[in-house]
């Protein structure tokens, strides 16, 4: 009899802890503003609107015009690099490769790498780079675009600093962030691709973000 009451107490304490645990949710990055919207019943209410990635269109590693439609219904990881970079890019992509391999079979995830070397990194150069890195297929897109379009997208929308710099060893400078974008094109995370522990965090955050859409 005493045993049963012990077990009851144990279970209720367990339940208490379980109900306390809140689901982890990723933050929203960038600017936000309040907007009055009408809900399904025509009732007006105030909602927060977050910064989103605008429409884009670039050539991918197969010289095919690729737009933001390719990422529709997917979450994706974006970064900025260039193929002749000898400083942080190899480390970034070495680490991103491990994320790619972890989620290879998940159709809800994509990878998008923009080159900032508009002079040299034409699609065939990107193709060769992708192959040598060990990437095949459309899951990881390597995109080529004009200086203006790529640099604006990087700085204004993905919040990653990029630039030409003749004093830098390889001619360009940029930050090594891996930016996590949700299915509604909002920024949900930024991870330093050169740091293993931050990349490990990205691997943990991707399932959290996917879970948001499972409800």
């Amino acid at each position: 009899m005493k045993n049963i009451s012990y077990i009851t107490i144990l279970i209720s304490v367990g339940l208490l802890f379980a109900s306390c645990k809140q689901e982890r949710k990723l933050p929203f990055y960038g600017e936000r503003h309040a907007e009055t919207v009408k809900d399904a019943n025509g009732k007006e209410k105030i909602d927060t609107v977050y910064q989103t990635i605008p429409a884009w269109s670039f050539l991918n590693q197969d010289s095919v015009v690729t737009t933001n439609k390719a990422t529709d219904g997917k979450i994706y990881v974006a970064d900025f690099f260039f193929t002749s970079c000898t400083t942080i890019c190899p480390t970034m992509h070495r680490n991103l490769m491990t994320v790619y391999n972890d989620f290879k079979t998940n159709p809800d995830i994509m990878f998008v790498s923009h080159t900032i070397d508009f002079k040299y990194d034409k699609p065939h150069v990107l193709k060769k780079y992708a192959q040598k890195l060990g990437v095949d297929g459309p899951k990881w897109q390597f995109l080529y675009g004009t200086k203006d379009s790529v640099y604006t997208l990087a700085e204004k929308n993905y919040l990653v600093a990029v630039g030409e710099d003749s004093t830098a060893k390889d001619g360009y400078i940029h930050q090594g962030y891996l930016v996590l974008i949700d299915k509604d094109r909002r920024i949900r995370g930024a991870y330093d691709g050169t740091k293993e522990e931050q990349v490990a965090q990205l691997k943990k955050d991707i399932p959290v973000l996917l879970a948001e859409y499972k409800k």
Partner: protein, 140 residues
């Protein structure tokens, strides 16, 4: 008896000299290894990896002891002047250009070379700075 003692002392001296010589080389090797590791981290690790594993077909691994041994006198040139030829490493072709590191002094090249050839499963021993300087003068 006296002769015996003198001989013994002389012999001990001789042994001590040899032992201390070896010690000097061991100390040099340790110095080169620890400095070389720092240089490796800042200049080489991005592409060749923390464990010398390379990066896909873009950068070769540094684990091919046979290659390292066969090209021993050219390694210093590779490090300082970069590589612009196809190299076959572990039976695979690597065609990408390796950048030059002209900012490395001869001693830096020697240290990082000793580090690489004695890490990642390689064990090719000490190469003094003077030898590396000579190698660097004979670069093609």
């Amino acid at each position: 008896m006296r002769k015996y003692i003198i001989n013994t002392i002389f012999f001990i001296f001789l042994v001590a000299i040899i032992v201390s010589c070896q010690n000097q080389e061991t100390i040099d090797l340790q110095n080169y290894m620890s400095n070389g590791k720092d240089i490796y981290k800042t200049k080489c690790q991005n592409c060749h990896g923390e464990n010398g594993e390379g990066l896909g077909q873009l950068a070769p691994p540094l684990t091919d002891s046979v290659f390292l041994k066969a090209n021993k006198s050219r390694l210093a040139c590779f490090i300082k002047n970069g590589v612009n030829e196809t190299l076959i490493i572990h039976d695979k072709e690597y065609k990408e250009k390796m950048p030059a590191f002209p900012e490395l002094a001869d001693i830096d090249v020697a240290q990082v070379m000793v580090f690489v050839t004695n890490s990642f499963g390689n064990k090719q021993g000490f190469v003094p700075y003077s030898q590396v300087s000579k190698d660097l003068q004979n670069c093609k």
